[in-house]
């Protein structure tokens, strides 16, 4: 499927700030699941600099702005040809060993409830395959946390989301990583875009899910919020231990920290597959 993405992040400040530094993880890696046809990230008015591909295969670039600034905008535009691989991340070049993704960060740390959720989900599955166990965990998280926007915050932890019983994709991903860790399965947080309307019309589409390490297959995506595995409607942007570590943009404002207004606009639309476009 050919997906066209436009992702605009705009920060507005009530009072001008002295400067901004951002670490941007905004480039989807080219792999068997997704061919990047075009991709451009524009940091309007800023200076881009140091860039590198990290051990997880994600490109990271530095962008800085000198103030005074009352607004900055980062714009992403691109086209990706996706292939459904039943959630399996294929031919993705990375060097981080799966065992490094067992770390209990603040957002994915487990408590007794998460441990119990993991244990109950896997009850009687001692001899089941890792893939079946991962599916069971994902189902358990979908059931335990109801999708409900506006109830949780960016810094909400897996523990808080489970105890509240409601959340958004970020919370489902955190809880799934947490219960996978309890079962000693490496798991990580993935950011990306989702084309979710049947007719391919543009819509809000920023998304996140989890990947669990299945030895026979490699990394497999699980979208507990949508009770499915990523398919051709998904574009994978980057990964990390948790939402903070995987964040597409990590930024710091210099100078006084005035009220900040964040606007994110993400539009994914399905292009006509097979149609060749001139870049």
């Amino acid at each position: 499927m050919r997906l066209s993405i436009r992702h605009i992040t705009r920060y507005r400040f009530d009072e001008p700030v002295r400067g901004i530094v951002q670490s941007q993880k905004l480039w989807p890696a080219d792999c068997a699941n997704q061919r990047i046809l075009s991709w451009e990230v524009t940091s309007h008015g800023g200076q881009t600099g140091a860039e590198f591909v990290d051990g997880a295969g994600d490109m990271i670039r530095l962008a800085t702005w000198r103030g005074p600034l009352s607004e900055v905008t980062v714009e992403v535009a691109g086209e990706v040809e996706t292939t459904d691989s039943y959630g399996v991340l294929r031919d993705h070049r990375e060097r981080v060993p799966p065992s490094a993704y067992l770390r209990p960060t603040r957002q994915v740390e487990a408590n007794a409830e998460l441990k119990a959720l993991s244990a109950v989900a896997l009850k009687g599955m001692e001899n089941a395959s890792a893939l079946d166990r991962a599916h069971a965990l994902s189902r358990a998280v979908s059931e335990a946390i109801e999708y409900k926007p506006g109830e949780t915050k960016p810094h909400t932890t897996a523990i808080e989301a489970l105890s509240g019983g409601v959340g958004v994709c970020q919370d489902h991903a955190h809880a799934l990583i947490s219960v996978a860790h309890v079962a000693e399965m490496p798991a990580r947080y993935v950011t990306g875009y989702l084309q979710a309307t049947e007719d391919g019309t543009p819509h809000e589409a920023s998304h996140a899910w989890a990947e669990i390490w299945v030895p026979e297959l490699g990394w497999v995506g699980f979208d507990a919020a949508n009770e499915c595995c990523p398919d051709e409607r998904y574009v994978r942007l980057g990964s990390g231990y948790d939402a903070l570590d995987a964040a597409p943009i990590r930024g710091l404002v210099q100078g006084a920290t005035p009220e900040e207004h964040l606007e994110v606009e993400v539009i994914v639309s399905a292009g006509q597959s097979g149609q060749q476009q001139q870049q």
Partner: protein, 474 residues
């Protein structure tokens, strides 16, 4: 391990006989009137206070303004003894760096089955952000502090390695400085190898790992958490000696491909950062987002080759107490050599058999936390009463992975000034090995001494002091 008390090696005396290395010192001591001694002792204290060196060594905590007691009786090593230590420490530093370069790259040592994977990749000090990046010359730990103890004429053991930012070298330098000022005669009568080349060697080492993008003479800075840090004195002292800027995070910024230092003449590019800040705090955009001490964006510049950070982020995974056990294996694996310096035999409570042995023999062992430092949270079996041992046993049972145990070593004793004259007190030694284009160490190190009679804990937070450390010329 037997329960019989092993003989303690006396560094100065062989029975009644004074060892040759100490003969001049012994005369010096005997000819010193008691009044002169106490006069000199207060003079030394005044000098230490004047230079402002009051910090606790190795981040041990405690009162940062407290003066660490200086003992005027030097610790002496012969040229021959030093030769072995020098070779042994350099060998260890080479292997530790080879290990770091390997675990952040191909992980051959894990593939070869020499070290369990989870001990490395699941280690708190293992940095995902360091994977797949080879720092200049492949060096991760540029200053390796190796803590040694001696138990016999030729018997040295490594207690632990310090691969991040080992502190205390300013004591090594100041102890010498003050001894030379107070007792110049001693330095004419004895052929003592100088240590004052340390700063020059450190600067040369740091310059040798400048990034490829750096042309011309590299601009080196020391990054300190600030004057509230207990080792701030050392940071400013080393910056002074090397003639480089001492900066805090707020003095630096990133833009484009580089790190810049704010100066009155405008921004100046920085090539090498000797940081005295923990990994977690150096870049809020990569590690702890609440850190005010670091430089936002620093890791991006580092990873794209615009600046060198010393020690490299992630270097700490090599000096973890659980990894320590495997250092002899690293030496064989990477260097194809036999270890020159021995490890202390170590039981890992994470292993059920080891744990069982440890719990059965607690009264004879020293038990430490895997991530602990500074002599806190440890049990010295022979010095503990029954209830202390029992409550410690409960802690081990609850979280065995968190503990390792070692036999109580008979640390060597060195003559030390006490009320009645001199008496043997237990000592250890930390030499500072510099790793860059070459691997070198100045002849000496920091000797810590347990001032309390019979005490084996040399940490300054637990009543330890320091001594000048002499290496005699050939």
């Amino acid at each position: 391990m037997s329960a019989t008390k092993p003989a303690i090696f006396n560094e100065m005396l062989n029975g009644e006989q004074v060892r040759s290395a100490y003969q001049n010192l012994e005369k010096w001591y005997r000819s010193m009137p008691a009044e002169l001694r106490s006069l000199k002792q207060s003079e030394a204290e005044a000098l230490f206070r004047r230079v402002g060196i009051t910090f606790a060594v190795y981040g041990e905590g405690g009162d940062p303004e407290r003066l660490i007691p200086f003992d005027m009786f030097p610790r002496v090593m012969t040229a021959e003894e030093w030769r072995k230590l020098d070779r042994g420490v350099r060998q260890r530093a080479a292997a530790l760096n080879a290990f770091l370069a390997d675990v952040y790259d191909r992980r051959e040592i894990i593939r070869a089955g020499k070290i369990p994977e989870h001990l490395v990749t699941n280690n708190e000090a293992f940095e995902k952000a360091a994977i797949g990046f080879r720092p200049p010359r492949g060096v991760f730990s540029h200053i390796v502090g190796v803590d040694l103890v001696r138990t016999g004429p030729d018997q040295f053991y490594v207690l632990e390695d310090n691969c991040r930012t080992p502190s205390g070298v300013s004591y090594m330098l100041q102890n010498r400085e003050i001894m030379m000022r107070m007792f110049p005669q001693l330095f004419m009568e004895n052929r003592i190898r100088p240590v004052d080349g340390y700063a020059g060697l450190l600067k040369k080492t740091l310059a040798s790992v400048a990034p490829k993008k750096c042309q011309g003479e590299p601009n080196i800075v020391i990054l300190t958490p600030g004057h509230f840090n207990s080792a701030y004195y050392e940071h400013s002292f080393l910056a002074d000696l090397m003639g480089v800027e001492l900066v805090e995070g707020q003095d630096l910024f990133v833009e484009g491909d580089f790190v810049w230092m704010k100066t009155t003449e405008g921004p100046k590019k920085v090539d090498v950062i000797y940081r005295r800040i923990d990994d977690a705090f150096i870049d809020p955009l990569c590690f702890r987002p609440d850190s005010m001490l670091g430089v936002p964006g620093l890791m991006s510049v580092y990873r794209s080759g615009g600046v060198t950070i010393c020690s490299a982020p992630g270097a700490g995974v090599a000096d973890d107490k659980a990894i320590y056990t495997f250092v002899p294996e690293m030496i064989r694996f990477y260097l194809g050599e036999e270890p020159i310096l021995e490890n202390v035999p170590t039981w890992q409570c994470a292993k059920p058999d080891d744990c069982k042995y440890v719990l059965e023999n607690l009264s004879e062992l020293v038990v430490k936390e895997v991530h602990g430092s500074g002599g806190y949270g440890m049990l010295v079996g022979p010095k503990s009463d029954k209830s202390t041992i029992e409550s410690f046993a409960a802690k081990i049972r609850k979280n065995p992975d968190n503990y390792i145990a070692q036999p109580t070593l008979a640390l060597s004793a060195c003559p030390t000034f006490v009320e009645e004259g001199i008496a043997p007190r237990h000592v250890d030694l930390r030499p500072y090995c510099l790793v860059g284009e070459t691997i070198e160490l100045v002849p000496g190190g920091l000797t810590r001494v347990a001032l309390t009679e019979g005490s084996l804990v040399v940490n300054s937070s637990q009543g330890g002091g320091v001594k000048d450390t002499w290496v005699l010329a050939e």
